[in-house]
Symmetry: C2
Subunit: 199 residues, 2 copies
Amino acid sequence: MTSSAQASPVATTAATAPTRERLLDAAAALFYREGVNIGIEALCRAAGVSKRSMYQLFTSKDDVLAASLARAGSRYLSALLPTPEADLPPRDRILHVFEHLESLSASPDYLGCPFLATAFELKNREHPANVVARRYKDALTDFFREEARRGGAHDPDLLARQLTVAFDGSSSRAVAQAQHLGGLATATATALLDTAGMS
Amino acid sequence: MTSSAQASPVATTAATAPTRERLLDAAAALFYREGVNIGIEALCRAAGVSKRSMYQLFTSKDDVLAASLARAGSRYLSALLPTPEADLPPRDRILHVFEHLESLSASPDYLGCPFLATAFELKNREHPANVVARRYKDALTDFFREEARRGGAHDPDLLARQLTVAFDGSSSRAVAQAQHLGGLATATATALLDTAGMS
């Protein structure tokens, strides 16, 4: 960030952009690790940003929360999905997501799907961060639906929603049980794929 | 509570018991609705209990949180499971749980499984309330395992854990999507039962 900012020909934008990104990255990490009730002071301290700078960029903490989830969520989703170059059949592209979740759950730092964590913590369903969370959950379901359709599932829409349930339930189990999944996410997805005629 | 307390022959115990129960019930409702970060003041206000009374009964807010989840959790789990008198085959006893979850998810007050919500919010896996949450999640899995065994599933232990994933994922989906499940929980459980040879 710093080097690209220094290299930017547009000094004003460059000076603003890294502050915004630094704040959002620190916020995403802190909200995930500590919860959405982290105060503005702790947030600014972690990001090395003054409150004044924060309020120049964002109107409220809710605004920071939503923007940080959108930024971190995009990376999280990209990491879950297979790359377009990965030459895999639809069933394997779906299982790739669950294998990635299995490996995430093995880390002691894994505190579950960040979108689910946000939804569970916020309570308020209309909070802008929950709108962001829903958008990403829908994007995952859309991915499953498209692969289910390509793979000839009997009911691609139902299978896609069932796979989202399996994904969220597995992520939740890793949190509630405080242990890695040990193959359960993949086994559950496999059972659903088999039933849907995508064997 | 009040009438049974008045009827109690042991005045000291009777005077203590309703305060404890009132506090735990108010705490459970408040933690569920507002999250685990509710302060002691709000808690005591909602329960109509002084802070002094609270600290005579509990050593800390964490202690209140764990005890309130244990008390509310017991009721929640009992409501989910079929009564022993319900003369149902194992498959229907399992589906009963998912049908109950479907009806819970139709309420605007439903904010997901209280054990999952606690686990997602607390972050600290060793928190006493998370130990309570795990105990109840294990109890649900134990129920599924016993029914799976009675129903002749190929691998009762795997099916029980898959059904717990389906339960948690469905509960999470109702929260993240802010809408009722519309049959998805039951359809997912049915697919898993079919694959496991419990049709």
